[in-house]
Amino acid sequence: MGELKVIGGGGEVAVTTRLSDLLQWARKWSLFQYPFVTACCGMEFMATAAPRYDIARFGAEAPRFSPRQSDVLWVVGTISQRQGPAVRRIWEQMADPKWVIAFGTCASCGGFYDNYTTIPGVDKVIPVDVYIPGCPPRPEAVLDALMLLQEKIQANDRRPVVVPPRQILHNAPGRTRGESS
């Protein structure tokens, strides 16, 4: 939460920070989401929202099916040319500050669809903050994206980013099973 300053001591302590930092901190832990789900990636979105991966841990469990009440637009799946005006309009109806996550390869760049009917990446229609590669991405990658977005919100950084691949830890527990060490 930005820079914290502790004043006083003993029984009475006050902590100060900047108002903007406090606001961003509040925002990043209460992301109301608008799921714009169109295709197979939706399955993985459901998996992420379900208890095993539990997106609620990041304060982003509340879906709002009105764009006016939501902070982050999840574009999940293939966006056809015909849906372009709809997704653009939903984004326009959202109140600032708002963020957009492109979930999966299709939403990020059109994926393997390159034809008369598919928009090659929803960023051709609305600005995107975080891109999640994968067809479909695993829930871990989705949570990575959410944490990345939280970092960006705290830092007030609106540059678009792609979720990096996770590092495989070769000595992680479970990876060495069966090997003599």
Partner: protein
């Protein structure tokens, strides 16, 4: 499928059945466009046939044919007898077969789809609008001369800054085999990313006999001929060198 349906049709309708075929037990009859609706009606109404189940109606584009560019096919089934039949007709660009939507209600949307994708109109159709694409769309995308990478966005595309997406994604996104820069390739540039894509390119060239494809083919042939000539010249030069070396 059923031979019985073909036999019945040829017996009852005679020379209105232009052609019959049997591929691995899939029976098919071909009729003229003017008989399209009548034969379909017969399939439905005939006491023996009772083809009451409309399965699908679709079209195939054959740009290589001299005339009657499209095939329109109907798949029908009889729920009483279990018979199936495929009926086909050859349709010229602009020619209008009659609608089957008065015989089988389900043909309504199938015919709209054929109109949307191929631009074949059906006479007396109650509501012939596009069904999958939008009204603003120009052309019919399943015609083989529709450019494979031509999109018609409803919302103008934003300028997107390069954020370091890895190839083949980036500013020019999509499948690379569908984004072949023929001009660059013919000028000697190589933007081919895998051998499998070469196969795709071959397929794309033979898929269409449109004028553009023919021109591209001619240029490729010319380039190959030139390369062969140069190769031959280089070989004879080599031979001459070796000869003088002796």
């Amino acid at each position: 499928m059923s031979q019985a349906v073909v036999d019945r049709l040829t017996a009852e309708l005679g020379d209105r059945i232009l052609e019959t075929s049997d591929a691995f037990g899939e029976h098919e009859v071909r009729v003229a466009v003017k008989d399209w609706v009548d034969v379909a009606q017969f399939l439905k109404d005939d006491e023996e046939l009772q083809m009451d189940h409309f399965i699908d109606l679709t079209a195939i584009d054959h740009p290589e044919r001299e005339s009657a560019r499209f095939d329109v096919t109907l798949m029908a089934r009889s729920s009483a007898n279990g018979h199936r039949i495929r009926m086909r007709t050859h349709v010229d660009d602009g020619q209008e077969p009659g609608t089957l939507s008065r015989i089988w209600e389900g043909a309504n949307w199938a015919e709209r789809e054929v109109w949307d994708m191929f631009g074949i109109k059906f006479k007396d159709h109650p509501d012939l609008r596009r069904i999958l694409l939008y009204e603003e769309f120009v052309g019919h995308p399943l015609r083989k001369d529709y450019p494979i990478d031509k999109a018609q966005p409803l919302v103008p595309y934003r300028e997107v800054t390069d954020i370091g997406k890895l190839p083949p994604f980036g500013i020019e996104e999509g499948q690379p085999f569908a984004r072949i820069d023929w001009e660059a390739r013919l000028a000697g540039g190589d933007n081919q990313v895998s051998p499998a894509i070469g196969v795709q390119q071959g397929q794309r060239r033979t898929l269409s006999d449109s004028e553009a494809a023919q021109q591209i083919q001619a240029r490729i042939d010319a380039r190959l001929a030139k390369e062969a000539e140069e190769g031959a010249a280089a070989e004879s030069a080599d031979a001459a060198e070796q000869g003088s070396g002796d």
